[in-house]
């Protein structure tokens, strides 16, 4: 359903088992059972090559980058910037269009605060296009992760702009027919998620971008759940900004990235300020470096960037199209299996695809945390709760759900163990069809 499975050979079970050997944690036992890790939507496991890259850096090259001239510092700087080039290229961006942040949340906040600072008069004439005020509108969707909702709420509060949203229907999908009412010439910025972290649905980026362009609005894409799982070319998607996190794509915690169209980053006032992002500083004022440095204040996330580049090399080695094809199979198996369990309602399950290999569901009369506890008891790690998407859950009439999310290293056996676990839980709690 990702559009790649028809043409790409999905990996064989033997191949997947080989990949699994690269991930030390997957061999863990949990509660006396082999771990079935189905929580990669929250955070992914790490292959040895990523851990090795980080350790190699600390044991051989660790030094302050972009500062000082000694050999270690120079070599560390080269590695750090090579890492940027690797990750930028992976998402179809130029090197200087990729800003390191500590996670996707910070990347989204960076954009919101840059708009806020521009609105407070920072950044001069070049930044005027980012100024918001009363009468301006920011549009999000009702299925956003809190990370792509609250920063815009706060931006609206600070600038006097109004926040509006594209609603979701009963089936969980965006009500595109309502989008036309919401996206108007007053819309200055449209922020939406590429893939819903709850529903696994892939949103119609092209259509949404077209509507934003038609009214001259900036487009911010939350690519947290797409970049790890699908081939993504941000230039081809034609968005202005995009955010993703390293830890969800085999990289370490503590690093994420903001993509920004070159000419926009160049015009934007800074967000965090301090060392390594300036040219000249007096006691009265500072002048700022061009992007990406302008947005990377202080000591950089050096080992994390290098490790994330190693993660990207690992993903490229397998091929994103094959990962997508594999997850497509797992996702279809998940959906079909869940549909057969009495009392299970898959959130967004009746919406037409495309989707990634993740599904959230409600089990009638049984709280998600109780479901999670039963699965955990069998070594199956899934996520329960609102998945940082309270408004979407509220819209669908529930507080919490249970989510299984897959990645390249998951097997059909793991999906089956999960499905059996859910069936047994339903049975234990006496759920009726």
């Amino acid at each position: 359903m990702t559009g790649t499975s028809e043409t790409t050979h999905a990996p064989t079970a033997a191949e997947i088992n080989l990949w699994r050997e690269d991930f030390p944690l997957l061999a863990t036992e949990v509660n006396g059972h082999p771990l079935a890790y189905l929580d990669s939507g929250a955070t992914s496991q790490k292959p040895r090559t990523v851990l090795d890259a980080e350790r190699h850096y600390y044991e051989n090259l660790n030094a302050a980058v972009h500062r000082g001239a000694h050999t270690l510092a120079a070599e560390a700087t080269v590695l750090f910037e090579d890492a940027r080039a690797t990750v930028a290229d992976f998402v179809g961006a130029e090197e200087d269009e990729l800003v390191w942040t500590s996670n996707a949340t910070e990347a989204l906040n960076l954009v919101a605060y840059a708009f806020s600072n521009a609105s407070a008069g920072r950044g001069g004439a070049a930044a005027e296009r980012f100024r918001l005020g009363a009468g301006d509108e920011i549009v999000v969707t009702e299925m956003e992760h809190h990370a792509n909702l609250i920063p815009w709420q706060e931006l609206a509060f600070r600038t006097g702009a109004t926040l509006r949203y594209i609603p979701v229907g009963d089936d969980g999908a965006l009500r595109m027919e309502a989008a036309d009412e919401v996206i108007t010439p007053r819309t200055r910025l449209l922020a939406f998620t590429h893939v819903s972290n709850v529903l696994g649905l892939i949103n119609p980026v092209e259509e949404l971008v077209a509507r934003a362009r038609a009214v001259g609005a900036f487009v911010v894409l939350d690519a947290c759940q797409s970049v790890p799982h699908l081939p993504v070319d941000l230039k081809a998607l034609d968005v202005d900004f995009a955010a993703f996190s390293g830890h969800k794509m085999l990289g370490p915690t503590g690093i994420g990235a903001l993509y920004g169209r070159g000419e926009l980053l160049a015009a934007m006032p800074p967000f965090l300020t301090g060392g390594s992002m300036i040219t000249t500083v007096t006691m009265e004022a500072a002048e700022y470096l061009p992007p990406p440095q302008r947005f990377e204040a202080g000591t950089q996330k050096v080992s994390q960037a290098i490790a994330l580049a190693a993660a990207v090399e690992y993903l490229k080695g397998i091929g994103m199209d094959r990962i997508a094809a594999h997850e497509d199979e797992l996702g279809a198996r998940l959906l079909a299996g869940l549909a057969e369990i009495p009392g299970v309602t898959v959130l967004g399950g009746s919406a037409p695809g495309p989707r990634v290999g993740a599904a959230s569901f409600d089990l009638a009369g049984v709280h998600a945390h109780d479901v999670g506890q039963f699965l955990d008891d069998q070594g199956i790690a899934i996520r329960v709760g609102h998945h940082c998407a309270q408004p979407l859950h509220r819209r669908l009439g529930i507080t919490a759900s249970t989510r299984a999310s897959t990645y390249l290293y998951n097997t059909t056996e793991e999906v089956d163990r999960f499905l059996e676990g859910v069936a047994a839980t339903a049975n234990f709690f006496g759920v009726k069809a």
């Binding site: 709280h367 109780d370 506890q373 008891d377 919490a400």
Partner: protein, 152 residues
């Protein structure tokens, strides 16, 4: 299929109370009330303590509550409600403390049956750090409601 630890966590009494919770429905005009939220899951409870008597003799007449949450939270609020009826305020406080101590012990301290009655069925929860808040939700609400009753 499930481990004995899990069966210890979801004892029959807990399953029963979670399906038929005790003390649900607010009455209003309570001596003290509290609303508590579990941020990990978003579940909430609103709980009233109804008191009679004065000073050291103040007695909990009844507890009433409303909310949503997992089996453990619903059973725990029910067991608290049942336990509390007729206790002095001081007594209830002591028992809340004892319950908390057991819950936070990471499986090391079993709840005291003399003090906690049927609520000892929740003893298994303390091995599951992520679920301790579920079991505590109603009890923390009661604790706050008692403080409110006092400062009014």
């Amino acid at each position: 299929m499930s481990s004995s630890e899990l069966q210890n966590l979801y004892q029959q009494v807990i399953l029963d109370y979670s399906k038929n919770p005790y003390g649900v429905g607010l009455l209003g005009r309570a001596a003290g009330q509290s609303h508590q939220l579990n941020p990990t899951c978003g579940d909430e409870i609103t709980l009233e303590v109804h008191l009679s008597g004065e000073g050291a003799d103040r007695v909990v007449e009844r507890i009433r509550w409303e909310g949503h949450g997992c089996a453990i939270s619903q059973a725990s609020a029910s067991l608290l409600t049942e336990l509390a009826e007729g206790l002095t305020v001081e007594d209830l406080r002591t028992r809340i403390d004892a319950f908390r101590t057991a819950m936070q012990s990471r499986g090391k301290i079993a709840p005291d049956e003399e003090l906690l009655g049927d609520a000892v069925a929740l003893g298994g929860v303390s091995r599951y750090v992520a679920r301790v808040k579920c079991a505590m939700l109603g009890w923390v609400a009661a604790e706050h409601a008692l403080v409110e009753a006092e400062t009014r």
